[in-house]
Amino acid sequence: MKRLYLLAAAAALIATPAFAQNTITIGFTDSVTGPLNVDSLGQTRGYEFWRDEVNAAGGIKAGGKSYKVKFVSYDDESVGGRVQQLYTRLINQDKANFLFSPYSSGLTAPAAVISEQYGKIMIDSGGAEEKPFEQGNKYLFMVITSATHYLSGAIEALKEKDPHAKLAMVYSDDPFSKDVLAAAAQQAKAAGLDVVLDESYSPSTTDFGPVVNKIISSNADAFLGGGHYSDGATLARQMHDQKANMKWMSILVAPADDKFAELGPAALGVTVPSQWEVQVSYKPQFGPTTAQFVKAYEAKFHAPPDYHAASGYTDGMILQHAIEQAGSVDPEKVTAALNAIDVTTFFGRIKFATDPGHHGLQVGHKMVLAQWQMINGKLGRQVVWPTEAQSANLLYPMPASK
């Protein structure tokens, strides 16, 4: 009989973990396989880096308790149907308290169908399209600037330097680049700048000779366009080789890669819109400064962080801040805290749209504009816009090709 009591006592101990640590489970899927795997990796590293730092500092403190952060994640193979299956599992089986979004807008929309019906908060840093935020979602929040504002900074800067600049826009025929340039064309018109050429090319284009000739004969002063790495880099090289002599060049994506330096003189003066760069100098209200973040990240991963890593880290940091402000992990209270957030972090300002037509869309954060300049005799990127984050002055017109 005594033994039975002992057994019962032991069972009770196991069943009720009275001394168990409070944990918050955050679930997400990442594209380890499939076409999006490269872009997804930086974001995942950002998440994990944040988790390790929070746990090392004792966890998230809310309402007098402290919560350790636990991740559950699966590979979604970059497929929408799989995303729904896995988010259903994350919520029901793994009991995730909060969610991060999958990488890309196309995967975030299917995931939101699941997260919204369970009232789970999902923070998005991997998809820049606005459409998922126009569907009346209540618990979806995005920390990065949407595609529509990718080139807003470039247009502003250009207008300030030359209010009569003529623009040529030539860009890859993919959803993201088309969205970005369509919005930029409207903003240019609103700013009184003249768009003299507006064309798209197939993403598999390898020879831009005819395109460059068209740009030259359009008499444009400024060039905006590009798409992905290889087409953007080739375009920059051919613009230089054919002496297009632009006063301004903004190319999407490609110049944000350190490999762009291989172009040598063709890279000089080219600008790229970026969500974040290692040189940005915002004064954070909480969390690390950019310098601290970069140093700790490099020590851990032996590579400089890209903006995916920084925005992934920001996802976590903003969620943590909202939980701490709410003093609770109750989804409604945390949602209210997220709706009210207006803060500056090392990633920039974060504030979410709260009107039902755009709920959760990022309205605080601004793209920075980085320019390839000579730094101590070597090519490197400097942040030149907006002025409050700049690390060097903008060169305009860009150094002429020789």
């Binding site: 896995l86 259903t88 126009e134």
Partner: protein
């Protein structure tokens, strides 16, 4: 047909699919079985072309994607209810398939296979440039479309039962065709098309008809799938990987058999799902899947059903 045990086996499969997740409101199981239904439907309908008539169709995904586009577009831009949108998708895609089929089914063997890839590329290029369908960024539909069903949670159940029904219809279709004169004609075409023609099988008509029929149910499944995702874009809708997977499933399960293809699709999806979420295998799930495929191809060349038939010859009488 109703007197044959296989008819009731299919009925049992449908009942199990419908009942299992509904008991205890098991949504995780439902989400896993949804994908199994998609694979079974795609593979079974592909099997009509591949297994029966012997024509390799790399473009079966076109039916799925186009069906998805038509359905999502009708719901999104014209506020149609789901059911008529699905039917429009099914009939619309079948009609297109008939027109395409009359053209490309003049080709045989490798040339036909190449032409089907061309159709995928062509239709995808069309979708990418057709602005009412959102061009390359696709169509996002608001979760508000789920309201008529009582909300997203209820809508997902309705969609699931619809997908099970479509899957069941695919199995009955495969079975019905196989045991009909039409099916015998197709099998004859698969064996030797010239001989079949000489023996009086109207080959061009049969081929176009089977191509058209094999488009109907995948189009409806596509409609359901993308309605469920609330999003469709060309690169997802016309993903050649899914086409290839359907072919692999037919080969693995045993092309030309109803049971083998369905079982192959089910096992394929459940295995993938298990490997992806298993803490032990998640990091090298592709390696495991690859090794398993290799073992099956090397040791069971006639597919799962070939193995079962040779081991248990009696099953040939029961399992089609």
């Amino acid at each position: 047909m109703v007197r044959r045990p296989f008819f009731w086996i299919i009925a049992l499969v449908i009942a199990v699919f419908a009942a299992l997740p509904a008991i205890g409101n098991n949504v995780e199981m439902r989400e896993s079985l949804v994908l199994a239904c998609v694979y079974i439907t795609l593979a079974s309908n592909l099997n009509l072309m591949l297994g029966y008539a012997g024509y390799i169709n790399f473009g079966s995904i076109v039916f799925f994607g186009l069906g998805g586009y038509i359905c999502v577009w009708l719901v999104y831009a014209h506020n149609w209810p789901l059911l008529p949108s699905l039917l429009a998708a099914g009939f619309g895609v079948s009609a297109l398939a008939l027109i395409f089929g009359l053209g490309i089914l003049r080709l045989r063997g490798h040339f036909f296979a190449l032409a089907t890839i061309g159709i995928v590329e062509g239709v995808q290029a069309f979708a990418e440039n057709f602005s009412p369908w959102g061009g390359s960024s696709g169509i996002y539909i608001s979760p508000a479309v789920f309201k008529p069903f009582g909300g997203a949670a209820e809508a997902l159940w309705v969609i699931y039962f619809a997908m099970v029904a479509v899957m069941g219809a695919s199995l009955y279709l495969s079975y019905g065709i196989k045991s009909s004169k039409f099916g015998l004609g197709l099998l004859a075409i698969g064996q030797n098309e010239d001989a079949a023609a000489i023996l009086g099988v109207p080959t061009p008509f049969y081929k176009a008809l089977v191509y058209c029929i094999s488009a109907f149910l995948p189009a409806i499944t596509g409609g359901l799938y993308f309605f469920k995702s609330a999003f469709i874009q060309p690169s997802d809708a016309f993903d050649l990987t899914l086409s290839t997977e359907a072919i692999v499933i037919c080969m693995l399960g045993g092309q030309g058999t109803v049971t083998g293809v369905a079982l192959g699709a089910f096992l394929y999806e459940e295995l993938r799902g298990y490997l992806l979420t298993s803490p032990t295998f998640a990091d090298f799930q592709l390696t495991i899947a690859g090794v398993l495929l290799l073992i099956i191809v090397l040791f069971f060349p006639s597919g799962l059903m070939g193995f079962i038939y040779s081991r248990f010859p009696r099953t040939q009488k029961v399992l089609e």
